[in-house]
Amino acid sequence: MLKEFYNYKTIFIEKKFKNHKNVEKILSRLNPEETIYIDDVKDTIDKLNSKNIKDNKNLLFLGGIRGEILQTCPGSHGHICCNYNVINLYIGCPLGCHYCILQSYLNQPFTIINIDIETIFKNIEEILKKERNKIFRIGTGELSDSLVFDPITDFSVDFVNFFKNQPNAIFELKTKTNFIENLLKIEAGNNIVIGFSVNPEETVSQIEGISAPIEKRIESIEKLIKKGYKIALHFDPIININNFDILYMTLIEKLFKVIPIEKIAWLSMGTLRFTKSLKNEIEYNYPDSLLLSDEFFENMDKKYRYFKPIRITLYQKVRNWIKKYDEYDKIPIYLCMESPSVWQEVLEKRPESGKNLELLFK
């Protein structure tokens, strides 16, 4: 099944989940050379790391979630955060986007699937019950693509069905794939959002690895809308490519041809940004990449971003092209990890805190 996505030679399984239905399902859909039962995922990974097996991406771990189940998105110092909560359901991603932060963020190259979703649901339900007046935006797309493993886990079904019944949660599955078959089999909920990261096809085909071509993503969006889902669009990362105007204009035209604006739950924009360690990884993994050769400066959060007026110009262009289809500013738009002054320049508003930003999503 989809060998390019799930080419695992060895699967390590925590013994306590040996007979878990999700383990059985995943194993039945993969064809590993060996399965090894282990006491603990973390201990095993530590041992493998100490043996220098740093670059082996063919190892899959099936285990239980560790630490806090609902975590706040790390955000960025000095920049406005959108108060997103994340569940690290999957850790590691096979898509291979050249700019992906996971290249430097994760201290191991292996993939981990947290199969104990019952515990996740139990914990989340308790958290949500405690603060019924607060709206929680929750997603699973922080340390992986939310849907890339769905063909082997079917977890989207469980998560959508769970969150549909949580009145104070808005749940987003964020993806660059077209793995939506499971979502089409179930009923959408008002508080379920399927987010798609979008970029011009030239960018997708050159630097977004094995993620779905933009046409496939748009087809998926169309099907999901027909099924009743709300959509989020993430213009992130916006990259200052050659022929920027024509390529982004074409992309926006294609998107808005099929997406009625009232079906868009929110739209985010973020220009390419990277840490020093990610820069090193990109240079090593993709030595011919043109991504880093632009005018970048290190900001106070230690992330490199395009020189401010370049960012503002890129945002304003995208914003204005979107505005052609959203004359009355009905789409909630936010900037990801941007400074208040850039917000002001681009969106003519300046949310001074995450609280103000929450209003966007109500």
Binding site: N52, K54, D55, N280, E283, Y284, P287, D288, L290, L292, S293, D294, E295, F297, E298, N299, M300, F307, K308, P309, I310, I312, S339, S341, E345
Partner: protein
């Protein structure tokens, strides 16, 4: 004189590799524990290391443990620089070190770990003698030299390296190399075109910065020009975020008395009033970045 380990007495000792004997001789001075070493290759794959330490004891590492012996030998070396490490890796390669063996050797040589270590090692092997020299004499970092090489490997890149002034510091030289490489990548320029741009420039570092950061260079020039026209610089110092991320400015005024402060403030206000008659306020980003 005694041998500590001898497992095979049928060794036929061949010539000591030249680069290693240089290293070994250097170590004699550096390492007080081992007063002399010799290193001999038996056949193509086999290695014997004799370490003659101060106790007149020979340690003999034999065929079956060649790779381990070599790593142990490397551990005995002190104060090795990048050139030494590179040569030791070349010898390891001749000893048929596989990927895992290299991974074990890298920490000993304080080399970049894991696959990146192999990546840099393979790149350096391909460097021109001149680029190698710059790297080994710590005039360029391994990262920036590799970045430069990756872009220009199919061209006569030494011609650009020869343009670099001797008086630049390590970080300035790296910055120049990186700026020009980024510019070449972004604008799709070859070495010949880059050389033509750089060769007539008086300040190569500044020129390379302007090539890499054309927008920034434009705006900082407008801003500095604006400060000149404001004519307040002789009374105060304007402090600002050099990348213009922050919108706020601050002003530093040095004075020794209230009168002097008063005088300077009046002069500043007069200069601003004078400028405002026809000049634009480039403190405001919306004007500066228009």
């Amino acid at each position: 004189m005694k041998f500590k380990i001898i497992k095979n007495s049928n060794f036929k000792i061949l010539t000591i590799a030249n680069e290693l004997s240089i290293l070994v001789n250097k170590q004699k001075e550096l390492n007080p524990i081992a007063s002399s070493y010799s290193f001999a290759s038996l056949q193509q794959k086999e290695v014997v290391i004799f370490c003659n330490n101060n106790n007149n004891e020979y340690l003999l590492f034999i065929e079956e443990e060649t790779k381990e012996a070599y790593i142990e030998f490397c551990k005995l070396l002190n104060n090795i620089n990048i050139e030494d490490s590179f040569h030791l890796l070349l010898i390891a390669e001749k000893l048929n070190f596989n990927e895992e063996d290299f991974f074990n050797l890298f920490p000993v040589l304080k080399w970049q770990y894991h696959k990146k270590g192999i990546y840099y090692f393979n790149l350096i092997k391909e460097f021109s003698p001149f680029l190698k020299m710059l790297l080994f004499e710590t005039k360029l970092s391994i990262k920036d030299a590799s970045y430069f090489y990756q872009r220009f490997k199919s061209e006569n890149y030494d011609s650009l390296l020869e343009l670099i002034p001797e008086n630049l510091t390590f970080s300035e030289r790296n910055e120049l190399i990186r700026n020009t490489t980024d510019y070449a990548k972004k604008e799709n320029k070859n070495i010949y075109e880059i050389n033509n741009i750089l060769k007539n420039s008086e300040d190569l570092l500044k020129k390379s910065f302007e090539l890499k950061y054309p927008f920034y260079s434009k705006y900082i020039s407008i801003f500095e020009n604006f400060l000149e026209k404001l004519k307040i610089k002789k009374h105060c110092k304007i402090k600002f975020d050099q990348t213009f991320e922050k919108e706020e400015y601050s002003m530093e005024i040095k004075f020794k008395s209230m009168d002097e402060l008063h005088k300077k403030l009046i002069s500043i206000i007069q200069s601003i009033d004078e400028y405002k008659k026809g000049g634009e306020d480039f403190f405001q980003h919306k004007n500066l970045f228009r």
